[in-house]
């Protein structure tokens, strides 16, 4: 990518690409292409592997602090080596396969799940010059790669030859399929507004600031805010995170479809879960939070990948905060939320986005009318649907014995 070498972007901005070109510059054409691809793969795996390790630590520390206890603090400095100790423990544990299990599928399920979740990292633009693969239909690729996870969950439940595992896998599938729909529908307004499915194109469409103050990120439009909320709730459910963690509710279901897994295979499932969270958060940053764009013009001197990382970490910490705050839903509440609230809301949001793009030319006082109408189109259906969702559930009265 010699584009980085010729532009007048700051040195730090170009540093990763310059380093790569310095490493592979002397190779002939096809070998250089291969080496560049391999370097991108290794970089993604290293960065997200380490992020996974320290995310588990951060999660345990933060959950500990929320629950008024210190969390892991014995391994290394402030418990910093805890993830590596856990990794060694998982690697050396015995790998138990039930006698009547389907051994090949039992092995394939965690590997396939991890593979599919790693595939999704390919199309996220991590910086101005750091898009590993630029595709015309990148968002479609992202969702297509993610949809393979359902197959892997089914394999895990089926191959264990345990009826509880199979039932749990069916429940997990019901959840994954239910929330895939609002996830996809919440993305459609972005495609409507930008006219492209390419992630780099979507980030480029969010460039610039209004009055040099408010960025043109989609989250700062009425339809964008609604779509972002729907996307994040669906992302929570798609990655089995609390409050939607009932596929493997460890306190009541002995880990659902993972019951018959132990050792490193069990760890692989969690690695895939965290990779899934990272990928979905990265996609949310790309679609709604301006990708690698800086929030203020004066802050543009900070390299783009730093901004991407900051936004990604903020979303990940939000995930952990939600886990520490909200109780788990019941399966009927979970499916009702998807089909009776999120899907209709996402469909209404399509209309809001269409209205927004049709009224692009409105200026002056008409701008106020545009904002008011769009906000009403978002808020009124949300309120009505929310009331319908909680109809018949009055305030609970506590009776003491």
């Amino acid at each position: 990518m010699s584009q980085a070498a010729t532009t007048n972007a700051s040195f730090l901005e170009r540093a990763p690409v310059l380093l790569r070109d310095w490493l592979t510059g002397s190779l002939p054409g096809p070998a250089r292409w291969l080496a560049n691809a391999l370097i991108a793969i290794v970089a993604i795996l290293a960065v997200f592997g380490l992020l996974f390790a320290f995310l588990t630590l951060a999660e345990r520390k933060i959950l500990g602090r929320v629950q008024n206890r210190p969390g892991p603090n014995r391994t290394g400095w402030f418990g910093l080596l805890q993830p590596f100790a856990d990794g060694i423990k998982m690697l050396t544990k015995e790998d138990i396969v039930p006698r009547s299990a389907d051994p090949f599928l039992h092995f394939l399920a965690p590997v396939a799940l991890l593979g599919f979740s790693i595939l999704t990292f390919a199309v996220i633009p991590y910086g101005r010059y750091l898009a590993p693969v630029e595709l015309n239909a990148a968002v479609l690729y992202f969702f297509a790669a993610g949809s393979g996870a359902e197959l892997a969950v089914f394999m895990a439940g089926w191959a264990s030859h345990n009826k509880y595992s199979l039932l749990a896998a069916m429940r997990a599938l019901a959840q994954l399929i239910s929330y895939e729909l609002p996830l996809l529908l919440s993305f459609v307004p972005v495609a409507l507004a930008t006219g492209t499915l390419s992630t780099t194109g979507i980030v480029a469409a969010q460039a610039g600031w209004r009055w040099n103050l408010i960025p043109h990120w989609f989250v700062f439009t009425p339809w964008g805010a609604a779509a972002f909320a729907i996307f994040m709730v669906s992302a929570l459910a798609e990655s089995n995170r609390s409050p939607f963690d009932l596929p493997e509710a460890e306190s009541e279901l002995i880990a659902g479809h993972l019951t018959e897994y132990s050792g490193f295979k069990y760890a692989l499932f969690f690695m895939a879960e965290y990779f899934g969270i990272c990928a979905l958060s990265g996609m949310a940053v790309t679609l709604f939070l301006g990708g690698w764009q800086a929030p203020l013009p004066a802050l543009s001197f900070i390299p783009s990948y730093v901004w991407f990382a900051a936004k990604l970490l903020a979303l990940l910490l939000g995930f952990i905060w939600i886990r520490a705050t909200l109780p788990r839903l019941r399966i009927d509440q979970l499916t009702r939320l998807a089909w009776k609230f999120l899907v209709p809301l996402a469909l209404v949001n399509l209309g809001t986005a269409a209205f927004w793009s049709l009224t692009l030319g409105w200026a002056g006082p008409l701008q106020l009318v545009r904002w008011a109408l769009a906000l009403g189109l978002v808020a009124v259906p949300a309120l009505l649907l929310g009331r319908g969702l909680s109809a018949g559930i009055g305030p609970r009265t506590y009776r003491y014995a």
């Binding site: 599928l105 690729y141 297509a144 394999m155 199979l166 492209t196």
Partner: protein, 171 residues
């Protein structure tokens, strides 16, 4: 370039044949998923990026799930893989259907003209594909969707109404 195509074709056809020959229904479905991925790889090889990802999303994500759910909802026990007896009538019907499908395919391949020289790659963007889908074929697309939904509901009804009812049972 052609060796890649040969590999893709081998993987696609090989997994499909293994799936048809196999006796384990679940393994067959998973092998079919690999075969569908092979078709997506073929689309990718021939430059139809959008079709490739749509193929992966619809077939590996949705159709395989529909098939798996159908198997799990219609079988009574886990080891209920017993194949139907190979009757002469069934064999005759299979040969007849297979010949008809092969005939249609061979006719379609034989009657389509082969390009003498490599044609220029058309600049198809996702946007133009979207315009195409929302243009004249939109009605056909909707009709197909409705048809598939009706078929799905019909399959559920047939599968759910399988239990024989006794005369003494409450309605």
């Amino acid at each position: 370039m052609n060796s890649v195509l040969a590999l893709i074709a081998l993987a696609t056809i090989g997994t499909a044949v293994t799936a048809l020959a196999g006796r384990n229904l679940l393994h067959s479905v998973l092998l079919f998923a690999v075969s569908w991925a092979g078709i997506a790889a073929f689309f990718l090889w021939s430059g139809a990026e959008f079709a490739a990802f749509a193929q992966a999303l619809v077939y590996i994500g949705a159709i395989s799930m529909a098939v798996l759910f159908a198997i799990l909802l219609t079988r009574h026990s886990r080891d209920d893989f017993a194949p139907e007896p190979a009757l002469a009538g069934r064999a005759f019907a299979a040969v007849l259907t297979g010949t008809a499908v092969a005939g249609v395919l061979i006719w379609a391949v034989a009657s389509s003209p082969l390009a003498a020289a490599p044609s220029p790659v058309p600049a198809v963007t996702v946007r133009s594909l979207g315009w195409q889908l929302m243009g004249p074929p939109a009605a056909a697309l909707l009709a197909t969707g409705v048809l598939l939904t009706v078929a799905l509901i019909g399959a559920v009804v047939i599968a759910a109404g399988e239990r024989p009812s006794k005369p003494g049972d409450p309605p």
